[in-house]
Structures are given as structure tokens and as C-alpha cells.
């Protein structure tokens, strides 16, 4: 062995190694983070940009003249339209620009906010949780370097979103300043929520609740501005409590003002130091609350794989329940206003894809229920995808080496996902019904909508089944998300954008009978149930045939 050719003892290097500060190593970590995100960041930026690009391509087709545009503007004046879209600046002279500012900006801002939350937490708390941060921090890396590198990555990612979005808008020959204001708004909302993520990352020991908390703040911000915007044209005080509202308050393409964006900057500038203070005070790997000793032995319930699963997912199910219920309650309480505006303008309901005959209230709420079912489908896919995470982190092998069979393992996951999906659907319907009860509708509406929510269960389970298939095939989950997102986009925007009938008819959420406004037709539900069973069985069979990854 050539030990003696090794370098001399490094005592001489002591001087050169000395010094360094809390930020040492940031540049290296930033380079590494960008490398790890070299696919993710462009993918998000292109995704957000293509939303606008697509809109720009389709709107002229769907709304060939000003009269057509104005019919859409009327919808956006309505509280229900404002709730989903924006404050409604420039509705009297609606154009592609004002339409993007009013209807797309909010969605794009939510997307960049979620991208930012996930990004920051992935590079901070998730690294600590995995133990990799310990190895990193044992190097010449300052206490604040990982957080600083994560925030710098955040800026890079949102700069990419800004650039792609600007390019997409300018490609549609929209006014330069207003286009830049919208792109900057989306990017800065991302930065602000990235700072929210930087704070929640300091609070919990695990990455998932940190993402959950920050994600809930994003949802809350969207709801706040939704209520605010539906209260009055141009938004009310509530709209100004939301960073997403700030981006919309630039009044792009109507009467541009830049200063609301400073509020986003200010929020980030306040939150980032909070994150630094918290990071500087705590131990690596620790949360804000000290660990408490738990139970010494497992409950009978917990030792079953499904019990374990429920235990792991309990917190997220509760959060989803609370979020959907609150949103549903608010939506339901707008029922009266929606009915009033639909009675004044029946063509609006058609454009929103809602029933125009019979009970207008029930028809409108049934259409809204569809949006909640879409959210539950997202939950179901996330819930099933947890199987893949368990496996890649090496926990599945330990379970499958016991008496638990492979189909039993998948069944135990579904034993949580299926009832939880049913619960979330019922809770959404209940919220809508209760909200409507307080304004209009009569008492029967509560029970009707709770049951109507459950009509979406077979469809939601089809998405869960697709996720099981992806897991069984080990194909990656991307194609399931493509299905989900395509269904959402067609379901949300399809009727408004005059998409071809063939596309609209294939949109699965539209296939579910919109009870209680129409008769319950069991045939599509039976087909969907069969599809869900087939997908799940195929996924299980595939899982039994393949190698375990870790």
C-alpha cells in the first residue's frame, strides 16, 4: 500500500482553513441544488407558461368578437365567477389581456406558489429529515448556507417562471409593461410563498407537514381573495390580505400599477429573516416543539398495515377535510347570488357548463361539486402514490418480509384511500349543502348534496386505480398526473373555451350525473366502478410480478 505517498499532515493548511462564516458554502450548495432541479424548474416554468400560451391560442377561437368576450365578462362580474377567478378589472372592455389578468393570473400564481413551497422544503427540511444535511453541515458549510442556497434556488426558479411567462405573453402580442407585470406578479407570489415554506420548514421535524402547512397557507390565500373579490368588483379588504390578491391588484391591461407587487417583496423580506432566526436557534434536524415520549407499545389497531397507513395519513386527511369543508361552505353560501345572476342571464350558466333548466340553485351547486370532486381525485392519487415513496425509501421490504402479502399491502393502502376519498366527497357535499341552507334551498339540500358528493366516488376511484397501476408497473406517476391535469383543465375551462365536443364528452368529471339537479343514472357509475376495479386489479397483478425496488 502506498500510504507513504500520501500528503503530509495538514497542519500547515490550518490558517487557510480558518475563518468562514454562517454563509460559507452557499455557492456550492446552490450549484448542487440547481443541478438537482435542472429538470424540475424548467418543467414548472414551461407548465405555467404554457397555461398562458394555450389560453392565448384558444381565446380568439372561442371568443371571436367583442360581443362574445363580453358574455364571458358578465360571468366574471358575478360573485361565483369572481370567487374562482379574480377581482374583475377591465370587464367592461374584456380582451385577451384582461382575461389573462383576471382569470389566469390567480391560477398561475397558485402554481408558482406551490412550486416554491415544494422547492424550499425539498432543499431544507427534507434534506435534514433524510440525514444528508448532517453530512453537508459537517463540512465547511455555515449554519445558514442550506437555507440561503434554497432561497437562492427559489429566486432562480421564479425568475425562470417570470421569463417563460413574459415570453408567452409577448408572443401573443400583448402590451409589454402589463405582460411583465403579470409575469412579475406570478414570480413574486412564488417568492413570497417560498418564504412561507422557509418558515414552516423550521417548525416541524418532517418535510410533509411543513409542506402541508405552507400549502394550506396558499389555499387560504386563494380563498381569501376569492371571497374578497366576490364581495365587490375590484376586490374588498379580504382580497388585500392575500399575496395572490396583490398580484391581481396590479390591474394589468386595465390601469396598470406596480406597487401592490411591493407587498409580495415586503412579505418575503419579513418572513425570510424569521426563517433565519428560527434556523439559528434550533438544533439540526429538530422542530420547534421538543419531542415527547409516545406509547410504549402499539395499539391492536395500529399493528394492522391499514392501521399503520391510517396513522401515517391521519394528519393529511384531517387537513384535506377541513380545507374542502370550509371552501364548500363558502361556495354554498354564495348560492343565492349565483341563482340571482343566472336568472338574469341564462346564457351564463350554459357557458359555465351548468344546467339551465329546473332548479337553478341545485344545478349551479352540482356544477361546483364537480370542482370539489376534482380536488378529491388529486387527494386519492397522492394517497396511493405514497406506496411508491414507502418503497423507494426502503420500508416496503420490511413489511413484505412479514406475513403481509403484496396484494394485502396494496389492499391496506386502499383501505385508507377509499374511505378517506368517500369521506372527503361527502364532506364537500355537506359543506355546499350547509352553505346553501343558510341562504336558500330548503333543508333537503344538505342531505341531497352529501349523497351527491358520493356519486363521484367511482370516478375518483378510477384515478386511484390508475395510480395503483402506475405503482404496480413501476412506470412512474407522471402519466397519472397528466390524466388528472388534463381532466381538470378540460373540466374547468373546456365549456368556456368551446373545446370540441369530442374532448368535452371524454372529460370524465362531466360523465358523472350531476345529481341532485338531474336524475341519478346508474349506468355511468357502474361503468366507472368496473373500470376502477379493473385498473386496481391490473395494478395489483403487475405489482406481484415485479421486483421490489429497495
Amino acid at each position: 500500500m502506498n500510504a507513504h505517498t500520501l500528503a503530509a499532515p495538514p497542519v500547515a493548511s490550518r490558517v487557510q482553513h480558518h475563518g468562514g462564516n454562517e454563509l460559507t458554502g452557499t455557492a456550492g450548495l446552490l450549484r448542487f441544488a440547481l443541478r438537482r432541479d435542472r429538470i424540475r424548474i424548467p418543467a414548472w416554468a414551461l407548465g405555467i407558461g404554457s397555461l398562458v400560451g394555450y389560453f392565448g391560442a384558444v381565446v380568439p377561437l372561442a371568443y371571436p368578437d367583442q360581443a362574445a368576450l363580453q358574455t364571458r365578462a358578465e360571468i366574471m362580474k358575478d360573485p361565483a365567477g369572481a370567487l374562482l377567478a379574480g377581482p374583475g378589472y377591465g370587464l367592461d372592455n374584456y380582451s385577451l389581456g384582461t382575461m389573462i389578468a383576471n382569470e389566469i393570473l390567480g391560477m398561475a400564481a397558485v402554481a408558482s406558489a406551490l412550486m416554491s413551497v415544494f422547492l424550499v422544503i425539498r432543499h431544507t427540511r427534507a434534506e435534514e429529515e433524510s440525514g444528508r444535511a448532517e453530512l453537508i453541515r459537517a463540512g465547511r458549510v455555515g449554519r445558514f448556507a442550506p437555507l440561503t442556497a434554497a432561497l437562492a434556488t427559489l429566486l432562480v426558479a421564479n425568475a425562470a417562471v417570470f421569463l417563460v411567462l413574459s415570453a408567452a405573453m409577448l408572443a401573443n402580442s400583448l402590451a409589454v409593461a402589463d405582460s411583465l407585470a403579470i409575469a412579475a406578479g406570478v414570480g413574486l407570489v412564488g417568492v413570497a410563498f417560498g418564504a412561507v415554506g422557509a418558515v414552516t420548514a423550521q417548525l416541524t421535524e418532517h418535510a410533509r407537514p411543513a409542506s402541508g402547512m405552507a400549502g394550506a397557507v396558499v389555499g387560504l390565500a386563494y380563498i381569501l381573495r376569492g371571497i374578497g373579490d366576490s364581495q365587490q368588483l375590484g376586490g374588498s379588504t379580504l382580497s388585500w390580505l392575500s399575496p395572490i390578491g396583490w398580484a391581481q391588484q396590479t390591474r394589468a391591461f386595465f390601469d396598470l400599477r406596480w406597487w401592490p407587487l411591493l407587498l409580495c417583496v415586503a412579505l418575503a423580506a419579513v418572513l425570510a429573516p424569521v426563517a433565519y432566526i428560527l434556523a439559528g436557534r434550533r438544533d439540526l434536524g429538530a422542530g420547534l416543539l421538543p419531542a415527547r415520549p409516545g406509547r410504549a407499545s402499539a395499539t391492536r389497531f395500529f399493528v394492522h398495515p391499514a392501521g399503520l397507513r391510517l396513522r401515517m395519513e391521519r394528519g393529511s386527511i384531517i387537513s384535506w377535510c377541513a380545507g374542502l369543508f370550509i371552501f364548500a361552505l363558502l361556495t354554498g353560501s354564495l348560492g343565492e347570488a349565483i341563482v340571482a345572476s343566472f336568472e338574469a342571464q341564462p346564457e351564463m350558466a350554459a357557458i359555465l357548463g351548468m344546467a339551465t333548466t329546473g332548479d337553478v340553485l341545485r344545478g349551479a351547486l352540482a356544477a361546483f361539486l364537480k370542482y370539489f370532486a376534482m380536488a378529491v381525485a388529486v387527494y386519492a392519487v397522492i394517497s396511493v402514490n405514497r406506496l411508491g415513496k414507502e418503497e423507494s425509501e426502503g420500508r416496503t421490504g420490511a413489511v413484505l418480509s412479514t406475513k403481509v402479502s403484496r396484494q394485502g399491502w396494496i389492499a391496506s393502502a386502499l383501505l385508507v384511500t377509499v374511505p378517506a376519498s368517500a369521506l372527503l366527497l361527502a364532506v364537500s357535499g355537506l359543506g355546499l349543502g350547509l352553505g346553501a341552507l343558510s341562504t336558500a334551498g330548503g333543508e333537503s339540500v344538505v342531505g341531497e348534496f352529501t349523497a351527491a358528493g358520493l356519486a363521484f366516488l367511482p370516478l375518483v376511484l378510477c384515478f386511484a386505480g390508475a395510480a395503483v397501476l402506475a405503482y404496480g408497473l413501476h412506470s412512474g406517476t407522471w402519466w397519472v398526473w397528466v390524466l388528472v391535469v388534463a381532466s381538470l383543465v378540460v373540466g374547468l375551462y373546456g365549456p368556456a373555451l368551446n373545446m370540441p365536443d369530442a374532448v368535452l364528452d371524454a372529460e370524465p368529471f362531466g360523465l358523472v350525473p350531476a345529481v341532485p339537479s338531474v336524475e341519478l343514472d346508474p349506468v355511468p357509475l357502474l361503468w366507472m366502478s368496473a373500470a376502477a376495479v379493473v385498473l386496481t386489479a391490473a395494478g395489483t397483478a403487475a405489482f406481484r410480478r415485479r421486483d421490489l425496488e429497495a
Partner: protein, 304 residues
């Protein structure tokens, strides 16, 4: 000369769990120091405090004479750390991971890296996801050993290594020692500690119950003697410091305190010794003694 590591009266609580309880630990430059204790004794916690990753509740902690919480970055340029459970990023190669860690310490010696890769038989072009446990461990070991640092902080560094690699590791540590580096080695592999360490600290429930050279620790334990004499060897039982005397055929077995051994020899010599074997306590016996019985251990000689 200041000690490389100097910990005095260190306390650390996690909520209601007392992880470290008045811990003392001293390492002089150039020393290979074994850090031993049962599971949950507080070894990893001590090391994380030394790295400035956890903040001490009370007590003084000095690394190269400085506070690791305040001066973590500067100090980390002078040490390399290997944990017992190495988690690497998927989608990068082992070679890239090594360069990343090494560059975070201020650079790697490429020749030494290549040499270590060869000795540890590690393929640096494989993606980390496909590495076995032992190979992930090797990544961290190569990154640490290839760095020009004065102190190696190793927390069960060889967990998962095969016996051949264990020997390579021991050779590398000896070389490090020859180069004048200081090593803190937490380990459950007693043979490794026995063959490498100048000094050993045994901790139990967050408190150092023994510190010293292996010889000093042995000194605290009894030597086992088997003797065959012409005369009546069982008479050694009358000496102070001689215990557990019993006869097995013509052999007489007893244990004797280290400092009573000369007297016992003097007693046996006139009896006509035909055969004599004395076995110093193995490290394992020392551990069973210390791990298993905190009361007796605490009553023993405390660290100097």
C-alpha cells in the same frame, strides 16, 4: 498544547429525555480515541454537539480550543465526519458524492481519492441508488479520508463493511495516525477499538464512566489465572486481591486484581509451578462489566 477535543460537564436534553449528563471527554492531538457505550448512551449526540449541529444545554465544548456552535464553519475545514448511516442523493454517482463532500471541506486530494477508491474497491461511476449499504458507507469514508484534515470524527464508520474492508479501514486509520491526525472513533466493534485506539472512553446514560488507555482500563479489572502447582495452590485464596479460587482436577483457577498479581506470583513460586497461564481481561469483558453495571462502574476510578 490545547486538547483537540475538550468537553466538560456537557448536558443535553431532548424535551424530557436526558441524552447527555455531565459528560467529559478529552482528546489530545495525534490520539486515536475509542468512544464506546451501549445503544442510546449518547455517542452520536455528543458527536453532533461537537460538530455544532446540536446546541449544548450547558457545559463547555471546545474543538481546537473553539466553540463548535459559534465557529462551526471554520472548524469544519479542519475535520471530516463519517456517520454510521449514510444517505445519499439519488441520481448522482458515488464519485460525484465524494467530490461534493470533499469540496465542502475545502478540497480533495485526487491522488489520494483514487488510491482510496482502489483500496476500498468502490466503483465511483455507479449511481448512488444502486449502492449497497456498505458501498454508501465507503463513499463517506473515502470522502473523509481523502480530505486534508486534522481530525476525523467517525460514528460507527464501518457499519455494513465486510471483514476485508474492515481491515482496509483499520490500515487507513493507522496511516492517519502516523500522519499525526487525531481520530474520535465511536464503535461497537471491539476488535476494531482494541487494535486501533490509544485511549478509550466508555459512556453510559450520557455520562463518561471510564476514560483511559486500554492498559489502564484493564488495570481496573481482574486477570484470570490458571495454574498447576506441585504444592497446594488453593492457598492463594488467603491473599488480599485474589478472588473466586476453585480447583478443577489438578488445575487451580482464580482471578486476581492487577496490583495483587506480583504477590500472588510470589506466593505460588515456592509451590513449584508446572504450568501458568494468565489472561488479561478482554475488552469485551470490560464492556460487559461497564455496560451491565453502572453502579460498580461509577464506583471505579474516574477519568483523570
Amino acid at each position: 498544547m490545547t486538547a483537540v477535543i475538550d468537553v466538560r460537564g456537557l448536558n443535553k436534553n431532548f424535551g424530557r429525555v436526558r441524552a447527555l449528563d455531565n459528560l467529559d471527554l478529552t482528546l489530545d492531538a495525534g490520539e486515536v480515541h475509542g468512544f464506546l457505550g451501549p445503544n442510546g448512551a449518547g455517542k452520536s449526540t455528543t458527536i453532533r454537539v461537537l460538530l455544532g449541529l446540536l446546541r449544548a444545554d450547558s457545559g463547555t465544548v471546545r474543538l481546537f480550543g473553539e466553540d463548535p456552535w459559534e465557529r462551526a464553519v471554520g472548524l469544519h475545514g479542519r475535520l471530516a465526519y463519517v456517520p454510521g448511516d449514510v444517505n445519499l442523493w439519488p441520481k448522482i454517482t458515488g464519485g460525484e458524492a465524494i467530490d461534493l463532500f470533499a469540496s465542502l471541506r475545502g478540497g480533495v486530494n485526487p491522488k489520494r481519492k483514487a488510491d482510496l477508491l482502489e483500496r476500498f474497491d468502490l466503483d465511483p461511476t455507479k449511481k448512488t441508488r444502486s449502492y449497497s449499504k456498505g458501498n454508501r458507507q465507503k463513499v463517506a469514508l473515502v470522502a473523509a479520508l481523502a480530505s486534508d484534515v486534522e481530525l476525523l470524527v467517525l460514528d460507527e464508520p464501518t457499519s455494513g463493511l465486510d471483514p476485508l474492508m474492515e481491515l482496509v479501514f483499520q490500515q487507513c486509520i493507522r496511516e492517519a495516525k502516523d500522519q499525526g491526525r487525531t481520530v474520535l472513533l465511536s464503535s461497537h466493534i471491539l476488535a476494531e477499538v482494541e487494535s486501533l485506539c490509544d485511549k478509550v472512553t466508555i459512556i453510559r446514560q450520557g455520562h463518561a464512566v471510564q476514560t483511559g488507555t486500554l492498559a489502564e482500563l484493564r488495570h481496573l479489572s481482574r486477570t484470570a489465572v490458571v495454574v498447576i502447582c506441585d504444592g497446594e495452590a488453593t492457598s492463594v485464596a488467603s491473599l488480599t486481591g485474589v478472588h473466586d479460587v476453585h480447583q478443577d482436577g489438578d488445575r487451580v483457577l482464580f482471578t486476581v486484581d492487577d496490583d495483587a498479581l506480583p504477590a500472588a506470583m510470589a506466593h505460588l513460586l515456592p509451590l513449584g509451578i508446572r504450568s501458568f497461564t494468565s489472561t488479561p481481561p478482554t475488552l469485551e469483558e470490560l464492556f460487559v462489566h461497564h455496560y451491565g453495571n453502572g453502579v460498580r462502574a461509577a464506583a471505579g476510578v474516574e477519568e483523570s
